[in-house]
Symmetry: C2
Subunit: 142 residues, 2 copies
DNA sequence: CCACTATCTGGAATTGCTCAATAAAAAGAG
DNA sequence: CTCTTTTTATTGAGCAATTCCAGATAGTGG
């Protein structure tokens, strides 16, 4: 199923901006809204910032994109949805890397005490220093 | 060890604002910067917003406070540091509840593929609906 | 009690994101 | 192919959280 079909299946209209956004996010590596906007403009010319935000929300709501928001960083988007994978975030440069779940499917989705909550998602973020930043010593690669 | 001693031990000066911040965060339930500022002012009169932010950073860096930042929410602080506990966040009202780790100590601290990262922390956030919001139907309690 | 420097103050600026009103364009009907 | 309806995009203002700057203040060690 291509992007246009996915959009239609989600009840969304197919526009150049949205196709470009999906493509940009797929190609990019956990881009933030600004990065997506820039990548999209490279593809289809002018697109307003609001259109990017709006589409990003629509696509996220439709389940075509996943939004992650590491502390201290603007929201980032990825196309890998539906599986239970987590993230490795570099404290120095902010790079986000996907990692599959250790325990299998939904590992930590069984908190000991749920305190009456209805839990629907377990989000795991590993914080550390990426290889590049380790090599660069204290220097930032951002 | 009282707060003043903890501050000194961390090489920080003891000021009324900082003691009030530590107390406010301890009493409060995962307060955000604004909530801390208000609680602090209740205790010691006027304190500038910057002093609050600055102190919060200093205290966090010193390990006296832990900062958590659930997606879509301003940063929140808690005094429970040093143990491997996680958080349950309500999608409706944003309330944060502490939960101990399922697997024991540092459960998820063993990602399958580390991709060369030096991991120093595993952060787990469970998303769901708190009991109060479930009872209130779709209504927000925020 | 002094000097030194961490800390606090006040104000302005930045960033990331949202709201509102109008114009444009995709989908379906005829 | 054209028209109509409804979604989507544009422009521009607005907001919240946080940070930066420069100068005043107050802990601390001596």
């Amino acid at each position: 199923m291509d992007d246009a079909a996915s959009l239609r299946a989600a009840g969304l209209r197919v526009t150049a901006a949205r196709l470009a956004i999906l493509d940009a996010v797929r190609q990019g590596d956990h881009l933030d809204a600004d990065g997506v906007a820039r990548a999209v403009r490279d593809r289809v010319g002018h697109v307003s910032t609001q259109a990017v935000y709006d589409s990003l929300h629509a696509l996220t709501a439709a389940g075509l994109l996943r939004r992650i928001e590491p502390a201290g960083s603007p929201a980032r988007y990825e196309t890998r949805v539906g599986d239970n994978h987590h993230h490795l975030v570099c404290r120095t440069c902010g790079t986000v890397t996907d990692i599959d779940c250790v325990v299998g499917e939904a590992p930590c989705l069984q908190p000991s005490q749920m305190h009456g909550y209805t839990v629907d998602e377990a989000e795991v973020v590993f914080w550390g220093i990426c290889p590049a930043c380790q090599a660069n010593g204290a220097e930032s690669t951002a």
